[in-house]
Amino acid sequence: MNLDQQLLGLGDQLRAEGVAIGTSELLDAFAALGEVDWRERASFQQALAATLAKSPEDRRVFDLVFERFFFRASEAAAIEAGIREGGEGAGPGERAGAQADAAAGRIDLEELRGQIARALAAGDEARLRDLARLALAAIGRASDGSNVVGIDVQRIRRVLGLRSDPQPEYPDGDPRREGLPREALRRFEAMLRRELERAQIERTRELPPSRPLGDLDRALPSGPAADLAAVHRVVAQLRRRLASTGMERRGSDRHDHVDIRATMRASLQTGGVPVVVKYRPRRPRRPEIYVLCDVSTSVTSASVFFLSVLHALHDSFRRMRSFVFIERISEVTDTFARQRSFKAISDAISTDAGVADVSGYTDYGRVWSEFRALVEDELHPRATVIVLGDARTNGRDPRADIFATIAARAGRTFWLNPEPRLYWNYGDSVIDAYAQWCTVFECWTTRQLEDFVRALSGSAPR
């Protein structure tokens, strides 16, 4: 295959991943390649990125797809040409691999752990690549691999004892004492994955079927404080959208509706001739929103995300009451009204919301009955109830009947579940018990959040 076809193939894959690429972008990409030294990998990738990926999210997807595409392309070429590692055509990196295989029997595991930890702390990319092969040689092939790359990566990582949290049992000066940098660990895992895939391809002598990027690959970074800024940037955009959507009117909505009764009444003044046409008054839509947010430990990673969503919603909607719950429910509307800083809010909620009782496990049944008692009189058909939670009851009674009465009184009820759809109704998740009373959205990426926002501001009742 020549370069043109390869590039078009890359464009196709990017499109399949949802990056909007038109013919004009591809033309630009070719023009750009004409200007740079594209035999160099970095400038090749950057020239393509500048012309094909036009937002930070697209750029992330682009880097992933680029990596995957050309890895597959080169492996396919290698199979075609019949090149095997350790054979004639091996480059310097390949030779290191061959040595690694030979040395596998003699590798001291403890020494290897130390070396990898040091390389991780130093961020030495090339050395890590070699060490990944070494680790694979030492561990991957000794025991029987599961043939599922993801599982093997985690297994190797466990054997190597690579963790991002501090491990005080190590002596001073050892990078593991402070915990390894998360970013470097992630990169090392990617390298392991690459190597495992390479080994697999070599064993089977064919390319595995290509799979689309999992949502996990491009999900929101869900680590604690460090990624908060990233979530916030996204929510800031969302806030703007929330503030502006729902205000403009589209299609037939743009026209005023004639109020026949009023027109007739006015026509009496002019002898029954409708000179003055009366229109129905436009009633601005003012959603009343009730948000319930699960803050228990099972949704820890999502709750920062959810709290920032709550934060953004509060900025955009005046008439909104928010609650957090674990075992019982607590209203936090005032906290949000008083505090502007997100940090202060999440602190306040975690310290004195008083939602955890004894066990710290979510009790949906109790939450529903308390919520109903709190707002029963206020719920009416123009109100919207949004629940942010994973519907994991920890074996307790879901009390879907109470939830049904709440949903029946409110105009619309939404459920945002931070778990991938795959895990729904698995274990103690009872989302289906509630799903019949409300609209459930899978929501753990910003894109999914946007889908939800569209639903929220699009089809509102008046």
Binding site: V36, A50, A236, R240
Partner: protein
């Protein structure tokens, strides 16, 4: 210098000479922009040198910089062109009798009565310029749509005159703080460059370039602290410009080390919200003691 850069490295060196240290793909994308005559859309948080890039490009290429600062409500009369009504009126009055309607009408919609605003000025300049359209995300979508003709064909259509084609090819840089999603149509016409906060080494080099008198150890400590401050969840994280300001402030005050006292005194150079100051004082101040 009037010709276009020969290679990416030449352009990177040129930018460096102009006092701008390009990082990562910046030089490459800028190079592509000059070679392909495509506008560049530069996005990134505030204060990472998006505007500076345009200025440095202008000074390296030896071109004038035409700048259009965008804001909400910016319209074509302020961005593209406007008819000089007063002059038109004078012209009509001066010829009140004698001249026929057709002549006067032809006359008063001529280039003589046109007030060129930044965009028209940029494409009708005798020598090529660098056009900076700053903070495009501040305008509304209608304005973006208006730019499309300019960005793809480098021409502006004036109803009374027809299309005015560019007499020289400007290098166009658009910046955005990503406060709003720009339209696909605009992005399609541009090269895309995402600028983020620089790595510690890169920022150190920038600070050293702009405050050469500051000892390296102090500069390093300063940059590391700024990176630490950026990690916190602030309303406005400090920008590169503020790192430089802080370095200069330290120089002026004659401090040779950043200790807790110095930090508390000069913190307001990099942090500019009351709540932020409290947070930073609490977190970073503690780390210093």
């Amino acid at each position: 210098m009037d010709s276009l850069p020969e290679s990416v490295d030449a352009l990177a060196a040129g930018l460096r000479a102009a006092g701008y240290l390009p990082g990562g793909s910046t030089a490459l994308v800028a190079y592509l922009a000059t070679r392909l005559d495509k506008p560049v859309l530069v996005e990134g948080p505030a204060g990472v040198g998006k505007t500076e890039l345009a200025k440095a490009l202008a000074s390296y290429l030896g071109r004038d910089l035409v700048r259009l600062q965008c804001y909400e409500g910016l319209d074509e009369a302020k961005a593209l062109y406007e008819w000089n009504y007063r002059k038109q009126l004078l012209r009509i009055q001066a010829e009140a009798d004698g001249a026929g309607w057709a002549e006067v009408q032809d006359d008063i919609f001529g280039e003589e009565f046109l007030l060129a605003r930044p965009l028209l000025a940029a494409i009708s300049a005798k020598t090529p310029v660098v056009l900076l359209i700053d903070e495009i995300d501040k305008t509304d979508q209608e304005f973006e749509a208006m730019l499309l003709e300019l960005l793809s064909d480098f021409q502006i259509t004036i109803p009374e005159l027809g299309a005015v084609a560019a007499s020289s090819q400007p290098v166009v840089v658009l910046t955005s703080n990503n406060s709003r999603e720009l339209t696909e149509a605009l992005k399609r016409r541009c090269l895309y460059l995402w600028l983020d906060y620089p790595s510690i080494e890169h920022e150190l080099a920038i600070v050293r370039l702009h405050a050469p008198a500051l000892p390296e150890t102090v500069a390093r400590k300063l940059v590391e602290m700024v990176a630490m401050v950026r990690e916190l969840d602030l309303k406005k994280p400090p920008s590169i410009a503020e790192s430089i300001d802080w370095a200069r402030a330290l120089l002026l005050l004659g401090r040779s080390d950043i200790d807790a006292a110095t930090f508390n005194e000069t913190m307001s150079v990099i942090v500019k919200h009351r709540t932020d100051i409290e947070l930073v004082a609490e977190r970073v101040g503690l780390a210093l003691q």
